[in-house]
């Protein structure tokens, strides 16, 4: 990227948001955050303010027009913020501005100097650098003269800019415009739109930067999460194809499979797809990989979309793989979720959160095909692309298992996602001489000369065992997969 004259930024401390905004909100200027009821506006604004105090040493003013200070404090306490303490320490002022039309009679000319005085006094008394106005539109409900209000709002934003206060104001989403009162016309610097959709009983939160003057920003809709730790935005699409290509190799956990992959296993930081019909041992092969990684002392994060962790561990123990020991040593962590519990973005978000927290070097998603039940094929592909970009950037090796419904359409079913994979391994079962025999083959493996033979394997009480190859075609038959 070329060097650019970027504006000074105020970091929000909100995970992900600072990445997609290249460092935060415009310093010393107002940013409008709009969205419908319950879209997370207040939380975003408050996080910006409180992180500013706690992490960046910038005192802040929270001027609230809707909730009382007590209501806000109790809302934010559930997210781990102690407003009372910050107020006591002189780093925060919460000012509840009550505007009740029924209590106010208007006669003649007035201005909002009272509000200015209040704000200025608050700012001066603690040396505030950040201000949140949540939501200033309430003024329109409380006062009848929109002409005065608009003129005063214009003055207010100029006032905030003159004092170089980084400000977040929230606005209720309007039908035709971004906000009901057209606040966006006063705020020319940055506008963030929040959206909360519930589709097929699945709830998804999205964030979009509508405008950010003078700065590069991602224009996509980014999923975000609100959980116990606050608000998190998932910036994955912006990552692009900048991830490193490592030369280091990691064992598959099955020596003969390593052999098939030019003798040394998968590339670290690559993507692996294990496809197969039911009962082919996809999970076993994944477990081997996890087991091998844990033996090297690496951390593994295992996403389960079908089984429970105890069930999976019991099954793996029956083929001689003891995963419990790695869980006990803190090297292996499971995260089991029913795909139907959330929308795709939320899955994506929670996967990314888990990765960021646990910092694994290996991630398994088993079976990734279960996510197909949540979204359309292209949505799933989109989500996987984002997951993969994110993981690759951290040089995390990721293994997906894919359950293919029938032996015929094997490759077709996976076609959508296989192009995202560096290595694609196929497991099949065929009946021969009244015995079901299992076969493993490497369909592709980018950047290495892999075996093109189809080899038989068995699931034994000591794991998945690839049998000696039949007349070897290596040498002449070595395939170089497309890179």
């Amino acid at each position: 990227m070329a060097a650019q004259q970027e504006l000074a930024k105020s970091p929000t401390g909100i995970q992900g948001l600072d990445e997609i905004t290249n460092g935060g909100l415009p310093f010393g200027r107002p940013t409008l955050v709009c969205g419908g009821a319950g879209s997370g506006k207040t939380l975003l604004a408050a996080s910006f303010l409180l992180n500013g105090i706690v992490e960046y040493g910038e005192p802040g003013i929270l001027m609230t027009f809707e909730e009382t200070a007590e209501e806000l404090a109790s809302d934010l306490a559930s997210l781990g913020y102690d407003l009372g303490k910050l107020v006591e320490e002189g780093k925060l002022i919460v000012d509840y501005v009550r505007v009740e039309r029924s209590e106010i009679e208007e006669t003649g000319e007035y201005d909002l100097e009272g509000l200015f005085v209040r704000l200025e006094h608050a700012v001066n008394s603690i040396g505030a650098r950040r201000v949140v106005l949540d939501t200033i539109e309430s003024l329109f409900a409380g006062l009848t003269n929109p002409g005065i209000l608009r003129a005063e709002l214009r003055r207010l934003f100029r006032w905030l800019k003159d004092r170089r206060l980084t400000t977040v104001l929230t606005g209720e989403r309007g039908d035709a415009a971004l906000t009901r009162q057209g606040l966006e016309e006063y705020v020319s610097d940055a506008v963030i739109l929040l959206d909360h959709r519930v589709q097929d009983q699945v709830s998804t939160r999205r964030l979009r930067i509508v405008k950010y003057r003078g700065s590069h920003h991602g224009t996509n809709e980014y999923p975000f999460l609100i959980d116990r730790d606050g608000l998190h935005v998932l910036p994955v699409t912006s990552l692009g194809l900048l991830h490193p290509a490592l030369k280091e190799r990691v064992s598959t956990g099955v020596p003969r499979l390593d052999e098939m992959l030019s003798g040394r296993g998968y590339y670290r930081g690559s993507t692996i797809l294990l496809s197969g019909t039911a009962g082919t041992g996809k999970t076993s092969l994944a477990a081997h990989f996890v087991d091998a990684a844990c033996r090297r002392g690496e951390r593994c994060l295992y996403f389960l979309f079908e089984e429970s962790p105890p069930q999976l561990m019991r099954n793996m123990l029956s083929i001689g793989i003891d995963l419990q020991q790695w869980v006990d040593r803190g090297l292996l962590q499971f995260q089991a979720d029913r795909p139907s519990r959330f929308g795709l973005e939320t899955h994506l978000a929670s996967m990314q959160r888990a990765v960021a927290k646990f910092e694994p070097s290996v991630v398994v998603a088993d079976p990734v095909t279960n996510l197909l039940t949540v979204g359309t094929h292209s949505d799933v592909r989109w989500m996987l692309t984002r997951v993969i970009d994110y993981l690759k950037l951290g040089s995390i090796t990721v293994l997906f298992t894919s359950l293919t419904p029938g032996s015929r359409e094997l490759e077709e079913t996976d076609a959508g996602i296989s192009s995202l994979m560096d290595t694609w391994i196929m497991l099949t079962i065929a009946e021969q001489n009244r015995r079901r025999r299992r076969w493993i083959s490497v369909l592709k493996s980018r950047g290495m000369a892999h075996s093109d033979s189809v080899r038989e394997y068995m699931l034994t009480d000591r794991g998945l065992s690839v049998l000696d190859s039949e007349p070897d075609t290596r040498g002449a038959g070595k395939a170089m997969a497309g890179v």
Binding site: V97, E105, T107, G108, G114, L115, R118, L139
Partner: protein, 110 residues
């Protein structure tokens, strides 16, 4: 509420003292006008039973929060209770009287 109200009946009894506080921000024309209007109305309708307190928010900014002051000028009727607020330069005497409960409010639509 059986009492019939008409425009001539004051809503408050004549013995009550009005404690009024006028919030201003400096000597702006609006603020000066508001004080003059208030003084005139009080003399006419509340002679001998009112007390006006002026608060200049530029001098005492911390007082804006307590009375929930937003607009300037704002007149606050602190007594008799309940607290009432009238914002603006008080140029419309009828509305000031309504705001102070010295006149019943007109019904919506009239």
């Amino acid at each position: 509420m059986q009492t019939q109200l008409n425009a001539a009946t004051p809503l408050t009894t004549s013995s009550e003292t009005f404690l009024l506080r006028l919030y201003v921000a400096g000597q702006t024309p609006k603020c000066v006008r508001a004080f003059e209007n208030l003084k005139r109305i009080c003399e006419e309708y509340l002679a001998g039973r009112y007390h006006i307190e002026m608060v200049d928010l530029l001098q005492n900014p911390q007082l804006a929060r307590g009375d929930q002051i937003l607009a300037v000028p704002t007149l606050v009727r602190r007594l008799p209770e309940p607290i009432k607020k009238i914002i603006g330069d008080l140029s419309n005497t009828e509305r000031v009287l309504v705001g102070l409960d010295l006149r019943p409010a007109r019904r919506p639509g009239s």
